[in-house]
């Protein structure tokens, strides 16, 4: 029983590290990233993971070793009567301070690229996104390239975007807070009623990916699910034209009914 407790505490770093090492093999890790900027975020995540992992292993092992070594029942030496060490305090203040400051500065470029308005691509908005309990509404500018004109194309929960191109989304909310989260593109931005915000990214691969709401928006928060499809420019334009034709047809039908 003597060393039982120290060994129990040794399990923390062992199982902790094992958990993180196994996760990628169990399909439980950072999801596939298809965006141009996403690898920077993943790199920063892994950078912090390695750094904090090393500190985690070191401190937990020191804790284990002190528990093992200085157990009152086996440690025959007298207590080291000391009130601390000024030089040690200086060392372990300056080292972490420098490291933390470095981490902060190291992150800034990626953050600026992802969020600062001055870094947004200089293109007209590709689509306007409106969050609403509990669905995503998309409004494309249509042929004239201008939003809020009669030829706008409306879609619900089904977003199509061109691949290998910068896209600029204007996001807003009609009712409560939502958050536009594309896990596979490493994009997240809250939708705030009363604010129109810009979100931009570029997908490097075609495919269909989830749009997830990441800010609590009521009882149906979990099912506020959309889908984004990245496709080559030609397919994208064909799809838009098809949607436009469909919309015109329904529109005329409704007008006929009204007559």
């Amino acid at each position: 029983m003597n060393k039982f407790w120290s060994l129990l505490f040794l399990l923390v770093p062992i199982l902790g590290v094992a958990c993180f090492m196994l996760a990628p093999y169990l399909n439980s890790w950072l999801p596939l990233d298809v965006s141009e900027h996403g690898h920077t975020i993943d790199h920063l995540f892994m950078f912090i993971l390695w750094l904090t992992g090393a500190v985690f292993i070191a401190t937990e092992c020191v804790l284990f070793w002190f528990m093992w070594r200085y157990d009152a029942r086996s440690n025959a030496e007298p207590v080291k009567f000391t009130h601390g060490s000024h030089s040690l305090e200086v060392v372990w203040t300056i080292l972490p301070a420098a490291t933390l400051l470095f981490i902060a500065i190291y992150q800034m470029e990626a953050w600026a690229g992802a969020k600062l308005g001055s870094r947004a691509p200089n293109i007209p908005p590709t689509v306007e996104v409106t969050g609403r309990q509990f669905e995503w509404r998309f409004r494309y500018p249509g042929n004239d390239g201008v939003l809020h004109t009669p030829d706008d194309i409306h879609q619900v929960n089904d977003l199509h975007l061109p691949v290998n191109e910068d896209v600029l989304l204007v996001i807003k909310s009609e009712d409560v807070l939502h958050s536009f989260f594309l896990p596979n593109l490493r994009v997240k931005q809250d939708l705030v009623p009363g604010m129109r915000q810009a979100v931009w990214f570029k997908s490097l691969e075609t495919g269909k990916f989830d749009i997830v709401c990441a800010e609590l928006c009521g009882w149906g928060h979990y099912k506020m699910k959309g889908q984004v499809t990245f496709e080559p420019r030609a397919d994208y334009e064909a799809w838009l034209a098809e949607r436009y034709a469909e919309q015109q047809a329904t529109h005329e039908e409704t007008e006929d009914d009204e007559d």
């Binding site: 528990m67 490493r186 809250d190 009363g194 009882w219 928060h221």
Partner: protein
């Protein structure tokens, strides 16, 4: 105080011998800081159970969504056929957090331990303002009532998250809980705020004014330093939350529009007011609630420092750096609130400055961890239950502290914000950190509170299973977070990309059930020991603090003689004396007078 009481106290049954007060004034509306401390302790432990059961509801849904809960389901959710409805799921996580934060962690640290320990550890006979102290407990009751009845008003309890972000929490059409439930929530939190404010004024005054002769500020135990700084944090941060709470109440009831922009359409009806901004609430809320995070951990850090020094039989390593880091955390704590809002729509340039301040607040925490390790180095560690809980606090706080760096880094936060990564992080700080320190503190000071020892064997059983299950519950949440698994989802498996995570969630839920079940061991040990535990003397742990020179339990007025303090509280293993501890009140040997007075 009369010598009769003191003698009776020495025999450990002061309570039965004092007949001067009626039952009501002695145990109900008591002015005695010890009775008030125990009132806080018992109330918060009951709410701890409630909060734990709410958590199990959340866990059940995440492991086995839309399945009938055995037994409980039929009773609680009869109308839903035994299932948790998505509406009720939002109530569950809102009220779990509310109960745990406002009714458990804050009042158990400041209310229970703060009240009980401050006068005893500084050598005072009571608090500076006993009436305020009594009111600080009794203002918790309107809060308990508000939160309790909110479950039964139409629409049910608040369901906008414990952060109560508007417009969801203001517009009644937006959520069922935003009918009456949210109003009661705001009133309840306001009452908790009044209670905390009365307490913090009292703690500051008491610590500044009522220290025993010789108890200089730098001879205070770190528990008291932490309580002192916590009280300052509360006094300066709370008014902001209270004001914001009233603004939200007015938005809800009087038609003001502090937090509502123009032209909101919720559930197809147009909101009548506008001109405000939802982000205003977030700034005001986190201006309180981020310092509140430190209100929820600093006292735990102080208590752990005391316990580690006592059971390592060695002085705290770097006492003054510990004090400075507590103050550093408190100071920086006021300028980091924006890290909750990196993706909220706040100016991204502001996000950068908040990233720097948030990174820097990790520094004092790191210094504290190094000093705890330094305290263990070269000691003679006694593995009592209290010590095991304290060591686990250090071990777990390392995890919770390090995982915070991920969220502090703004680009990484873009991905992990509002995922289970943050859920893992704050549970490692608040449950694996604070709650473990609270358990340790209960095992450590129980002999002082009740004059009897808790059973060590069952205490270690309690520790072992809590430690295993808490890691089983919270560690895998990091992995969930890394996949982007969102928090506050009634059914994450609505997304095909999260299907593979269900087995892991089942594992977490089983561990969570085990963790709650383990607390039965604690409850039985606690109540059994109050009545039948081995009698404790005044100083069962051979500790140095002033509280250990008082009778167990201390009578009214605490000390039988006025304590005079000669040294700091951590002189364990001092070469000046033959025994391995050196109580603060023990006069120094005549020859070493000069040395001790430095």
């Amino acid at each position: 105080m009369s010598t009769t009481t003191a003698d009776a106290g020495a025999h450990g049954d002061a309570a039965h011998h004092e007949h001067t007060q009626s039952f009501i004034s002695k145990y109900v509306f008591s002015f005695d800081h010890k009775v008030i401390g125990l009132q806080f302790l018992f109330s918060t432990l009951i709410w701890f159970l409630v909060g734990g059961l709410l958590a199990l509801g959340i866990r059940w849904q995440l492991a086995w969504p839309w399945t009938d809960m055995p037994v409980i389901g039929k009773l609680a959710f009869a109308s839903e056929g035994g299932q948790i409805s998505p509406e009720f799921y939002t109530v569950l996580f809102t009220m779990h957090a509310t109960v745990m934060i406002f009714f458990v962690i804050i009042p158990i640290l400041a209310g229970a331990f703060g009240n009980y320990l401050i006068p005893l550890m500084i050598g005072a006979d009571d608090m500076a303002f006993p009436t305020l102290n009594m009111l600080s407990y009794w203002f918790m009751w309107p809060a308990f009532v508000c939160m309790g009845i909110s479950f039964f008003v139409p629409g049910g309890a608040a369901a906008g998250g414990w952060t109560s972000y508007p417009p969801l929490s203001v517009i009644v059409e937006a959520a069922p809980g935003s009918h009456g439930g949210q109003t009661f929530w705001l009133l309840g939190v306001t009452f908790v705020g009044i209670s905390s404010m009365l307490g913090s004024v009292n703690y500051m005054t008491t610590i500044i004014q009522m220290r025993a002769p010789g108890m200089t500020m730098f001879r205070l135990p770190l528990t008291i330093w932490a309580m002192f700084i916590t009280a300052i944090l509360q006094a300066f941060a709370l008014p902001v939350l209270t004001a914001a709470g009233f603004m939200q109440l007015m938005d809800r009831m009087l038609g003001t529009g502090f937090f509502l922009p123009e032209g909101l359409i919720a559930n197809n009806s147009l909101a009548a007011t506008g001109g405000g901004h939802p982000l205003l609430w977030q700034h005001l809320f986190w201006f309180y609630s981020h310092p509140a995070v430190y209100i929820m951990i600093l006292p735990a850090m102080g208590m752990v420092s005391d316990m580690i020094s006592c059971f390592a039989r060695k002085p705290v390593f770097g006492y003054k750096p510990m004090v400075y880091s507590i103050s550093g955390i408190a100071g920086l704590g006021f300028i980091v609130w924006g890290h909750h809002m990196f993706v909220s729509g706040m100016n991204p340039g502001l996000g950068m400055t908040f990233m720097v301040s948030t990174m820097m607040i990790a520094l004092p925490s790191a210094i504290k961890v190094f000093n705890w390790l330094g305290t263990l180095w070269g000691g003679k560690i006694q593995f009592t239950t209290a010590m095991l809980f304290s060591l686990s606090f250090v071990s777990m706080f390392i995890i919770g502290g390090l995982s915070g760096i991920f969220m502090a880094a703004t680009p990484v936060d873009i991905f992990i914000h509002d995922t289970y990564y943050i859920v893992a992080h704050f549970h490692y700080v608040l449950f694996a950190g604070t709650a473990m320190a609270v358990f340790g503190g209960i095992y450590f000071w129980f002999p002082k509170m009740f004059g009897r020892m808790m059973n060590e064997f069952w205490g270690k059983i309690h520790f072992f299973f809590t430690f295993i299950f808490l890691n089983g519950t919270f560690f895998p949440m990091h992995i969930l977070g890394a996949t982007g698994f969102p928090r506050r989802y009634a059914d994450p498996y609505h997304y095909a990309s999260f299907h593979q995570l269900q087995p892991l969630n089942e594992f977490i839920t089983i561990c969570a059930i085990g963790m709650v079940a383990t607390q039965v061991v604690f409850a039985v040990n606690f109540f059994y020991s109050i009545f039948f535990g081995r009698r404790a003397g005044r100083n069962p742990w051979n500790a140095n603090g002033l509280e250990w020179t008082a009778p167990s339990p201390p009578g009214h007025g605490n000390f039988d003689i006025q304590p005079i303090v000669y040294r700091g509280p951590y002189e364990y293993g001092s070469p000046e004396v033959d025994i391995d501890y050196y109580p603060q009140t023990q006069p120094p040997p005549a020859s070493s007078d000069a040395k001790a007075s430095e």
